[in-house]
C-alpha cells in the first residue's frame, strides 16, 4: 500500500469515528430533548386541567351579572384556550345523597316494606318512593336520614313527593356529624309544594342529613312519601388538551363543589373531598 493509500484509509477511519461520535451525541441529545418535552407537556396538561377546574368553580360561585354563570350552571362542554393548549369544562348538577354516589338512607321509625323503604328516596328514580311507617305528628315525627360517604358541606337540599296528599307539610331539615346530635337548618310550615328546594347557610362536616316530617298533606293516606331526596352541588370534569404534531394529548381531573352565588359578600365555593384524576 502506498503513502496515498494509507492517508486515504486514515482519513476514512477518522471520518467514521467522528460520524459515529456525532451520531451518538445526536441520538442521546434527541432522546433527552424528547423526554424533557414529554415531561413539560405532561405538566402543562395537568395544570390546564386544574385551570379548567378552578374556572368552573369561579363560574359557579359568580352570578352571570358579575361575569360568571351562577350556582345552577351546567354545561356539556365549554372549551377555553389558555397558553399552549385549552381546557374543556363539563359541569353537572350533583346529588350527594344519591345511593350511586355512595350514600345510604335509613328511616325512623323504620318502614318494614322494602318496596317503599328509605333506599327508594335515593335511587335516582322519581317513580319509586319511601313511605313513612305511620302518620307524621308532632309527637310522632317521621324521619328520613341520609348518611354520606364522607363529611361534606351542604347548603341546598330538595325533596320531591309523589303527590300533594303525601307531601311533607310541616317539616325540618337537620344536619349532624355523628348521627345523634342534629342541628336544624330549615323549618318548613304549611308547605304546599310537592317539589321543594331549600337553601340555608352552608354547614360543614355534615355526615348525616335528616328530613323530619311532623305533618303531611292530608289524612288519606296517613303517611308521608318521598320520591327523591337530594343534597345538591355540582360536579366539574376538566380536561386539559395540547395538540402537537397532529396528535391531541389530554389529562382529566374531576371534583365536586358546593357553591353559593347569593351576593358578592357570600360568593363561596366549598370543594368536597373527592378530587381525582381520571
Amino acid at each position: 500500500m502506498g503513502e496515498k493509500g494509507s492517508v486515504l484509509l486514515m482519513t476514512l477511519t477518522l471520518t467514521i469515528l467522528l460520524v459515529s461520535l456525532a451520531g451518538g451525541f445526536l441520538y442521546a441529545t434527541g432522546v433527552f430533548i424528547q423526554n424533557s418535552g414529554w415531561e413539560e407537556t405532561d405538566a402543562q396538561l395537568f395544570w390546564l386541567a386544574e385551570a379548567g377546574m378552578q374556572k368552573g368553580i369561579w363560574n359557579l360561585k359568580t352570578p352571570s351579572g358579575s361575569g360568571g354563570q351562577g350556582e345552577s350552571w351546567t354545561t356539556a362542554g365549554t372549551t377555553e384556550s389558555l397558553g399552549d393548549g385549552s381546557y374543556t369544562m363539563v359541569v353537572e348538577v350533583w346529588d350527594f345523597a344519591l345511593s350511586a354516589n355512595g350514600s345510604t338512607a335509613s328511616d325512623s321509625p323504620a318502614q318494614s316494606g322494602s318496596s317503599v323503604g328509605p333506599a327508594m328516596a335515593v335511587d335516582g328514580d322519581d317513580s319509586t318512593y319511601w313511605e313513612s311507617s305511620g302518620k307524621p305528628k308532632n309527637n310522632a315525627p317521621q324521619d328520613l336520614i341520609i348518611a354520606f360517604p364522607y363529611p361534606l358541606t351542604v347548603n341546598k337540599v330538595r325533596f320531591l313527593a309523589p303527590s300533594s296528599s303525601t307531601r311533607p307539610r310541616d317539616y325540618t331539615w337537620a344536619v349532624s356529624s355523628d348521627g345523634s346530635s342534629y342541628t336544624t337548618v330549615v323549618t318548613g310550615s304549611n308547605n304546599n309544594s310537592t317539589d321543594r328546594t331549600d337553601t340555608f347557610s352552608a354547614q360543614s362536616g355534615v355526615t348525616y342529613l335528616r328530613l323530619q316530617t311532623t305533618e303531611d298533606g292530608q289524612n288519606n293516606p296517613k303517611t308521608v312519601r318521598i320520591a327523591t331526596l337530594e343534597a345538591i352541588g355540582s360536579r366539574i370534569t376538566s380536561t386539559g388538551t395540547i395538540t402537537a404534531g397532529g396528535d391531541a394529548y389530554t389529562r382529566t381531573v374531576r371534583g365536586t363543589v358546593v357553591t353559593d352565588d347569593a351576593s358578592p359578600q357570600s360568593q363561596v365555593a366549598y370543594k368536597e373531598p373527592d378530587w381525582l384524576e381520571l
Partner: protein, 157 residues
C-alpha cells in the same frame, strides 16, 4: 501492517463511544423507570384526604375510594433491613402498602406494590410531609449511573 494498526486504533477509539452510548441507554432507562414510579406515587398523593409523615422517611396517606377511606404508606424497603429501617444498605425499593387501622396503622415491611428499584437510602433520598405538601425526593443509582428526581405535591382533598 499499517491497516492492522489503524483498525486497532479505530477499535480503541470506538470503545469509549460505545461505552458512552451504553451509559446513555442506562441513564434513559433509569430516568424512565424513576419517572414512571414517581408518577404512580404522585397520582396517589394528589387526591389524598390526609397526609402524614413518618419518622422513618415514609409518607402515610388516606384516600377515599368508592365511598371507603383507605390508608397507605409509601416507604423504602430492603430485604436486609427491617422496620424501622437503619438505611445501611444500598439499592432500596419504593413500595406502596396498605395500612391496617387507619393512617397511623400498621403494615408488613416488604409488603405492597413495588414502584421503583435501586433507590439510595436517606439522606440521599427523602420521603416527608410538610403541612399539606408531600415531598418525594428520590436518588437512583445503578452501576455508575445516578439520577435524582424531586417532586413536591399538594394534596387536593
Amino acid at each position: 501492517m499499517l491497516v492492522g494498526v489503524l483498525m486497532t486504533a479505530a477499535a480503541y477509539a470506538m470503545n469509549p463511544i460505545l461505552l458512552a452510548w451504553s451509559s446513555q441507554q442506562d441513564r434513559m432507562e433509569l430516568q424512565r423507570g424513576l419517572q414512571h414510579g414517581l408518577e404512580k406515587a404522585l397520582r396517589d398523593l394528589r387526591p389524598a384526604t390526609a397526609l402524614q409523615t413518618d419518622a422513618d422517611d415514609a409518607v402515610r396517606y388516606t384516600l377515599w375510594e368508592s365511598g371507603v377511606s383507605n390508608s397507605y404508606i409509601l416507604y423504602l424497603y430492603h430485604s436486609s433491613d427491617s422496620w424501622p429501617p437503619a438505611y445501611n444498605q444500598t439499592g432500596y425499593q419504593l413500595r406502596k402498602a396498605s395500612l391496617t387501622g387507619g393512617i397511623g396503622g400498621t403494615f408488613t415491611y416488604g409488603a405492597g406494590d413495588l414502584l421503583v428499584r435501586d433507590i439510595k437510602p436517606p439522606p440521599d433520598s427523602d420521603l416527608s410531609v410538610s403541612g399539606s405538601v408531600a415531598v418525594v425526593d428520590l436518588t437512583l443509582v445503578r452501576a455508575d449511573e445516578t439520577f435524582r428526581l424531586l417532586e413536591r405535591v399538594k394534596r387536593r382533598n
